[in-house]
Amino acid sequence: MKSILIAVVCASSLMAASPEVGNYMQQLQTEASEPFDAARGEALFTAEQIGKKGTKIACTSCHGSDLTQKGKNVNTGKIIDALSPGANPARLTSLKEVKKWLRRNFKDVYNREGTAQEKGDVLTYIMQYR
């Protein structure tokens, strides 16, 4: 368990999320059963679901499938800045924002809150996106 934590800490520092977001990921990891995995995060991010509105939706519906590019809100057409911290250094710098959007977007796409495991997997995918 300790080695996982150390790995997460090292990985987070490499991936340039703010320390508070790094701490949050460590906290999520203590609540999750598996080490976070970007491939699982990608699957969560790209899978189409029947969302809150009762229609098909995926995270990519608004964020697009290339996270280094801007996305577009599927409902309103408003442009969404790139999600990848590599392309948009403002990403994953505010814990408040991270928590808010994970809460809202899981509900919109999966019609429920994400688990600690799922949130960590998705965050890992976003951080490692190249």
Binding site: K52, K53, N73, N75, T76, G77, K78, K96, K100, R103, R104, N105, K107, D108
Partner: protein, 198 residues
């Protein structure tokens, strides 16, 4: 006879252009008044000295950041207080999406909207007419307000449903200064369609 017709035509044209100019002047004046009062309001509610430079309160900034993240931050004066109150208690299902906020932010925004809603806000003429005509069946939908529907009734569907606009709720797709609270006819430019004048 021909001469009379010519004189009458000229007179009508002159009257028409004076009317258009006056209307335009009125719209412009109203937009300026709105901006000015909004700035003054921001200064006084901030409890600071009056100044001529527009000052944005932290609540106004919060409103723009939170609500404006997904759609244009509609001017609070576009809806009456009751509409905003209902909006703020139903953010868990906000037009089919989850728009929930942290409790402290939600409370701050509820107070901001209550203070700046149509009843007390320095609305422009058009915004006031929209707020006054909000439908009882859809009290949260600006685009369902009677005056709003009337003003947009002649726009062809294809100009609205196109990807660059999507719906009438997307004010700033065509009203180029909508984010500043100005909806003057002169400032309308419909993407892939052109200027609009009625």
């Amino acid at each position: 006879m021909k001469k009379h017709l010519f004189v009458i035509t000229c007179a009508l044209l002159a009257v028409g252009s004076v009317y258009l100019a006056a209307d335009d002047h009125y719209e412009k004046h109203n937009a300026q008044r709105y901006e000015k009062t909004a700035a003054e309001d921001a200064v006084t509610s901030g409890g600071q000295k009056r100044s001529t430079a527009p000052v944005e309160t932290t609540s106004a900034r919060l409103y723009k950041n939170e609500c404006g993240a997904c759609h244009m931050a509609y001017q609070p004066g576009l809806l009456p207080r009751a509409s905003w109150t209902r909006m703020m208690v139903s953010l868990g299902d906000h037009f089919g999406t989850d728009a929930t906020l942290e409790p402290a932010d939600a409370a701050e925004l509820a107070a901001y909207l209550d203070a700046n809603a149509y009843v007390s806000a320095p609305s422009s003429k058009h915004m006031a007419r929209i707020a006054k005509s909000v439908s009882a069946d859809a009290p949260m939908q600006i685009s369902q307000a009677g005056y709003f529907v009337k003003e947009h009734r002649r726009i062809p569907q294809r100009a609205i449903v196109q990807p660059d606009v999507k719906s009438l709720a997307n004010c700033n797709a065509c009203h180029t200064k909508a984010e500043n609270g100005s909806y003057r006819e002169r400032e309308i430019f419909i993407p892939n369609y052109g200027r609009w004048d009625d």
